[in-house]
């Protein structure tokens, strides 16, 4: 019996330490960023300006579409090599009138394509446009974007220069959050995009495999588009990822061009973010199933099956599982073997602190412009409670002394019972933080939400909120819930330097 318990103890320790896997993977990814210069594609680049069709899916976008077209017409790109096709997904506002006015203002450059039946999602809207564009020989490349994004003047030509290499199938740019005025949520997203795009996609570039072309900035060569079937996948909620995977399976290269900057308006509240990210997370679960024959099966001509890419993909997809496993194991160990639990917890949190410090510092260094706006959100990304736990891990004696002082001043003696209670709370918090973030989402539409939501998000953390959304995606996919296209509402508050 004793042997069995010892075996159980060590099994639980193993589960706790498995929680460190995503952290180690994140460290590895960020370390690879430093080697990006060794895998640059610039030697194969040329000043290259293919005839480019810009495909803009639009549903009730009258607040943003006019400005977006104007900005596209200001691109540093030959006017006669640029055509903008706005696919109006049966809009009920004045989008058709705005686009038609722009078509009259820019004859031969702007085209209004109308769908009579809308609401079938972005992929179906894009396919309507692709069918028309591909039927004509004019197009040599197609840029798929969102109606609200703003392309910096040099961004498109920075992307097309890679297509001078015929091995390249697709190119994506660096999407930055550009809401003006921003709020706490847009700044969290702004920082998140440094980690996920400026850093994450550079890492993937080094590995030779890109997980996803940004939906608002994906450039395809005509040949590539035809090779992947000439259509965008409509069976999943992650059509961009499916296109990215198919491109690479067809043996073509996908490039991340970090110097092609595109500004986008992102959700300004938790509910809107939840809708958007639930779609993405559920889409990723669907892609994982759809490409089940790819994972950990290296194949010539594509790095999708490389073990490294598989580990990176699954460490993100299964992050909530890792968190719950680590937290649950720590709680069980707390009752079985308190000392062993604390030792495992310390090891996990030391890894956590080092990872957090490395990633936060490097992310802020990578994009100092965005970093200056978002450093508070960068610091608070894991949440205030987790920050306290980090600080305790770094300065345990000082925090313990402070705790005694503060509680002593309040007339409370910090007994061993209190300490054990705090320790148990920290073990539970590892997964409990997701619950607090979920609570923030539930409360947002209510009257108290305006005040409480930001507080709860700062307490629970933005990272745990993303984990909570991924968990919700598992549940929805397991229940085979309807696939709804919840469009993120855009108000035209994105601003970018001209």
């Amino acid at each position: 019996m004793a042997e069995l318990l010892v075996g159980l103890d060590w099994m639980l320790v193993a589960f706790v330490l498995i929680g460190a896997v995503p952290l180690l993977v994140a460290n590895y990814q960020f370390t690879l960023v430093a080697f990006h210069f060794r895998r640059l594609h610039y030697k194969e680049c040329e000043p290259y300006f293919p005839r480019t069709a810009i495909l803009v899916p639009a549903w009730n976008e009258d607040l943003v579409i006019g400005a977006s077209i104007d900005r596209l017409m200001m691109l540093e790109y030959p006017c006669d090599s640029l055509r903008i096709f706005v696919v109006d997904d049966a809009s009920t506002d004045s989008t058709p009138q705005v686009v038609q006015a722009k078509a009259a203002e820019y004859p031969g450059n702007v085209f209004h394509l109308r769908r009579d039946k809308g609401g079938e999602g972005k992929a179906a809207t894009l396919n309507h446009g692709l069918g028309i564009i591909l039927a004509d020989d004019w197009m040599q490349a197609v840029l798929i974007m969102d109606a609200d994004v703003i392309y910096v003047a040099d961004s498109l030509r920075h992307m097309t220069r890679h297509l001078a290499d015929p091995r390249v199938g697709s190119v994506t740019g660096y999407i930055k959050e550009g809401s003006q005025p921003g709020n706490y949520m847009t700044r969290f997203i702004g920082y998140e995009y440094i980690t996920a795009q400026a850093a994450g996609r550079r890492c993937q570039d080094v590995l030779g495999v890109i997980a996803c072309l940004a939906g608002g900035a994906q450039l395809h060569s005509r040949e590539n588009l035809i090779a992947v079937g000439g259509r965008i996948d409509t069976t999943t909620l992650a059509e961009d990822t499916v296109t990215t995977f198919r491109t690479q399976r067809a043996g073509r290269i996908v490039i991340f061009e970090p110097h092609a900057v595109v500004w986008a308006e992102e959700p300004g509240g938790i509910v809107a973010l939840w809708k958007q990210r639930l779609r993405w997370a559920r889409g990723n679960v669907q892609v994982t199933k759809m490409f089940r024959d790819v994972w950990f099966r290296p194949q010539p001509g594509s790095r999708l099956g490389s073990p490294t890419f598989g580990i990176i993909w699954f460490s993100l997809l299964l992050l909530p599982v890792f968190m719950v496993a680590a937290s649950g194991s720590l709680i069980a160990l707390y009752f079985l073997n308190f000392k062993l639990a604390f030792a495992a917890f310390r090891l996990l949190w030391v890894t956590n602190v080092v990872t957090y410090t490395f990633i936060t510092a490097l992310a802020l260094f990578i994009d100092p412009d965005v970093g200056r706006r978002t450093w508070r959100q960068a610091v608070m990304f894991p949440g205030i409670i987790n920050m306290l736990i980090f600080t305790t891990a770094v300065l345990p004696r000082q925090l313990s002394w402070m705790g005694h002082k503060i509680l002593g001043a309040a007339g409370i003696e910090l007994t061993s019972g209190w300490i054990r209670g705090i320790v148990l709370f920290t073990y539970i918090w590892l997964m409990g933080c997701m619950g607090v973030s979920y609570l923030a989402k539930v409360l947002e539409p209510r009257r108290v939400g305006k005040v409480l939501c930001p507080i709860l998000l700062y307490v629970g953390g933005y990272g745990p909120l993303l984990c909570a959304i991924t968990t919700a995606a598992y549940v929805q996919e397991f229940r085979k819930a309807d696939m709804k296209w919840d469009k993120t509402v855009k108000t035209g508050k994105v601003a970018a330097p001209v």
Binding site: L40, L163, V354
Partner: protein, 114 residues
């Protein structure tokens, strides 16, 4: 809006286009010796004395416009690539700086808490 491109690289024609048609047309219009490949210099400079063409080997620094109609003050294509490459190289230093921050934190931990 910018000017006409210099059409440096036109991509391949679509595969379904019949390949023999342009050749047949050229056979009709051009004398046979003009169809010989890889002799553009001869065609462009037919009367140039050979010794004048014998230039010493030196690196050719080309500075192509980054985009058609770019103002003269704008960085060239090569300069843009150079700037981007330098930025990517600077990430090594930034990563080392981030590691230094981690080391500093571990040092603080060791100094204050043993």
């Amino acid at each position: 809006m910018t000017a006409q491109p210099d059409q440096k690289d036109q991509p391949d024609q679509p595969e379904d286009q019949p390949e023999d048609q342009p050749d047949q047309l050229e056979d009709l219009l051009l004398p046979e010796d003009l169809l010989l490949p890889d002799q553009p210099e001869d065609l462009l400079l037919p009367d140039q004395p050979e010794d004048q063409l014998d230039l010493p080997d030196q690196p050719v620094v080309s500075h192509r416009a980054a985009f058609p109609g770019a103002p003269p003050s704008a960085p060239s294509f090569e300069e843009e690539i150079d700037t981007a490459t330098k930025y990517e190289r600077s990430l090594v230093g930034k990563a080392l700086l981030a590691i230094a921050v981690c080391v500093l934190m571990v040092a603080i931990r060791a100094f204050f808490s043993g």
